[in-house]
Symmetry: C2
């Protein structure tokens, strides 16, 4: 048995929506938490920029504007960072670890941009760095990847990791709304920011994809490595086309281990974010509104999915608390938790080498031989066609083509080729198809 | 830093489908596991009843028939039990803990029948008892409940925890098959045993429900406490009726905290297993074939779902390995993991007090006033009707009634009353409706 020790002292950086929820839970669940950790958790200080904005429920005596002093204080054991953004969060986290503190953070931007620096510091100083809340809010996802699947081999992670875009696409699917209309509704309901760029252009999802890929494949991946396409170009016609295929359009974060001819470790990883069709029978298809879900395919465990609220103060705080308890137990036990290792160092492959499937919707002229001309264009780039469907007749003739898996570069070349054909009036819709074959 | 220590020695009890997968993973992933634990994991012995049946890949020198001697050996640190059943598993696990070993088990029957004894022993001897593989195979579910949601308050767990019955019901839904036909197909594909009783009568699901309820509500629940109805009575008409309601029939394991008028802890828990309709928009509705999924509703985290393969050697072994690593890390660190505490000791409420909704399908006579007579029967028992739909005309007249939430006893009384009405030819289908309102 260990000797008894006093309470563990927690410094909180940031006290907005998430931070104030963390304070509330620390107070309300104090007895449960103490029983679980083996010693009480005590708030040592709360660093904020504007003390006058701190909400009720936080002891004013604990509030400080000097975050730097707080994280290096001798009477602080664990630092919880919920400020967000790159700086000053990075400097504060590094300072905290340097002075022996373990860290819980919800900061996806920082982890996706410079996770390597943080992980290296955690290793160097023997500190814990836990960040469950950075991806998919309260959904216990990173811990299963880090711990439960530790004896397994992950092939692929397929996730809906941005609630705003899922809400918009769900509205387009269920209510037949156009993108702008759905975005406005999401904004009026508080699901989308006034400036929705980070969400609708896929930046938020790309940061999370980088974190997931890093964890799943033990390989360094930053947000800049992620191929990213947003949903602003998704049209009502695309969504209707998906329906016709018994599919639904989702903004997916995809992390794949690309197998080599021989070895199982693969020749690299593909990490990408784009709107794609998935079959309605796929578990991800039924993820509605602003929910998040992440589908994991592993060698022994098979297919797993984790589903839940991806954002919001309470769910994020719940994830922070779970991490805080784990870190506190590690501090009490004197054994740091797992440190991210990127020993595999697989290359991130360019998008052109990624293997996917395409759905292509064409307005074609009403003449004999159109299908042959179109098919020839696919053959030229060695893209195999899975199905062709003719919709409409005469002047309204349209072709829907779905391909088998092929390198993205070849598929792009096909689309460019089709645009140049006389018999193709318009390439009305192009979308990748994921989630099966 | 801790002093260096030698390898951790693992005793394996049972070497069937799961056990031999565990051996394979221990060998194949040895380096990864050693890095993760901080010291190698070494197989100290494998206890089996019939040594001649042990598969290739297991060192014959490690095989023994004396499980009792193996679990008490001084050179064993951790015991992995994958024999199943109550005895000798219980005695062996207790012996192991008594001599200071930590235990990983996949034994749902034992945990559901006598978890209290095991948890008490774990507390007494300071041993770890991990059992992720006992519910829902490889799906990381118990660990999130035990650890990630530790600062949260679980309201409800709603799960598809038996793959066999989900396969059968899915076939009935998608192919329009009857129960017997679907069962035969499941048997021919290896999804159902020759004697399918444990699955189709809900015994397997009830054991898992007991484990989940215990964990979610910190309250002792055994399999015998669980209200249990199987799927053998589910007819093609029930499944068609569900379709008409845009619902699907699933065998659900439901664990609910029943709120009292005032306190948040509730006046008891309801733990039950039965086939019920859930809306097709519910995330559980899209769980197809033999997959499992568990839906958790918690105060801060909101709705979470965990999905994956619920059975099979490889997925179960993956869960065992995850636990083994966690336990090994605790041994290395000298800090045991969380021990189940059943401090809440909430009573398990009888089924009659459980609040649910009913779907009732009636063949009625073709005369005026039938609806009034039927409605009166609901009113008599204070059951409020949500919707009534008339199907067919004249001799074929049928009524579909869906109720609001009411105590199960009142709903049963309504059905008994309806059976006694002259204007009701037959109560063709009765099924509970879960998953929303």
């Amino acid at each position: 048995m260990k000797p008894e020790r006093g309470p563990l002292r927690v410094a909180l950086l940031g006290c907005g929506t998430v931070g104030s929820e963390v304070v509330r839970l620390l107070n309300e669940q104090a007895d449960d938490l103490a029983a679980r950790v083996g010693t009480p958790l005590e708030l040592a200080g709360v660093a904020v920029r504007r003390p006058e904005r701190v909400r009720a429920g936080v002891d004013p005596e604990l509030v400080t504007t000097d975050a730097q002093a707080l994280v290096t204080r001798d009477d602080v054991d664990i630092v919880v960072e919920v400020i967000g953004g790159i700086e000053p969060a990075r400097t504060l986290i590094l300072e905290a670890m340097k002075t022996g503190k373990s860290v819980v953070t919800a900061n996806k931007a920082l982890l996706a941009e410079d996770g390597a620096t943080l992980f290296a510091a955690a290793r160097e100083y023997g500190a814990d760095l836990y960040y469950e809340a950075s991806v998919a809010g309260a959904i216990p996802l990173l811990r299963p990847l880090r711990e439960s699947l530790v004896g397994d081999h992950v092939h692929r992670v397929l996730g809906i990791v941005n609630g705003t875009t899922n809400y918009i696409l769900d509205q387009m699917d269920s209510a037949g709304a156009g993108f702008n209309e759905a975005l406005e509704e999401a904004q009026s309901l508080g699901y989308a920011e006034a400036d929705p760029t980070a969400d609708v252009e896929g930046f938020d999802a790309a940061a999370k994809a980088a974190i997931l890929a890093q964890l799943a494949f033990h390989t360094p991946v930053t947000a800049a490595d992620v191929h990213r396409e947003g949903i602003t170009e998704v049209s009502a016609a695309d969504v209707a086309g998906a329906k016709g295929m018994d599919c639904v359009v989702k903004l997916l974060a995809i992390c794949e281990r690309v197998p080599s001819e021989d070895g199982r470790n693969g020749r690299g990883v593909s990490v990408r974010v784009y709107p794609a069709m998935i079959p309605r029978t796929h578990p991800l298809a039924s993820v509605r509104e602003a929910y998040n879900a992440v589908f994991v395919e592993a060698e022994s465990a098979g297919s797993l999915m984790f589903y839940g609220a991806g954002a919001g103060g309470a769910p994020t705080a719940s994830a922070v608390l779970g991490d805080l308890v784990a870190v506190a137990r590690n501090v009490v036990g004197g054994t740091p938790g797992p440190v991210e290792v990127t020993y595999a160092k697989l290359p991130v492959l360019p998008m052109g080498e990624t293997v996917t499937r395409y759905y292509i919707h064409l307005d074609v002229t009403d003449e004999a031989g159109v299908l042959a001309t179109v098919a020839e264009e696919f053959a030229r780039h060695e893209v195999s066609i899975q199905a062709v469907r003719q919709v409409g007749l005469g002047e309204e003739a349209q072709l829907v083509v779905v391909t088998h898996r092929a390198p993205d570069a070849a598929l792009s070349a096909v689309v460019r080729g089709l645009r140049g054909l006389d018999s193709v009036r318009e390439v009305a819709s192009v979308m990748r198809v994921e989630g099966e074959e």
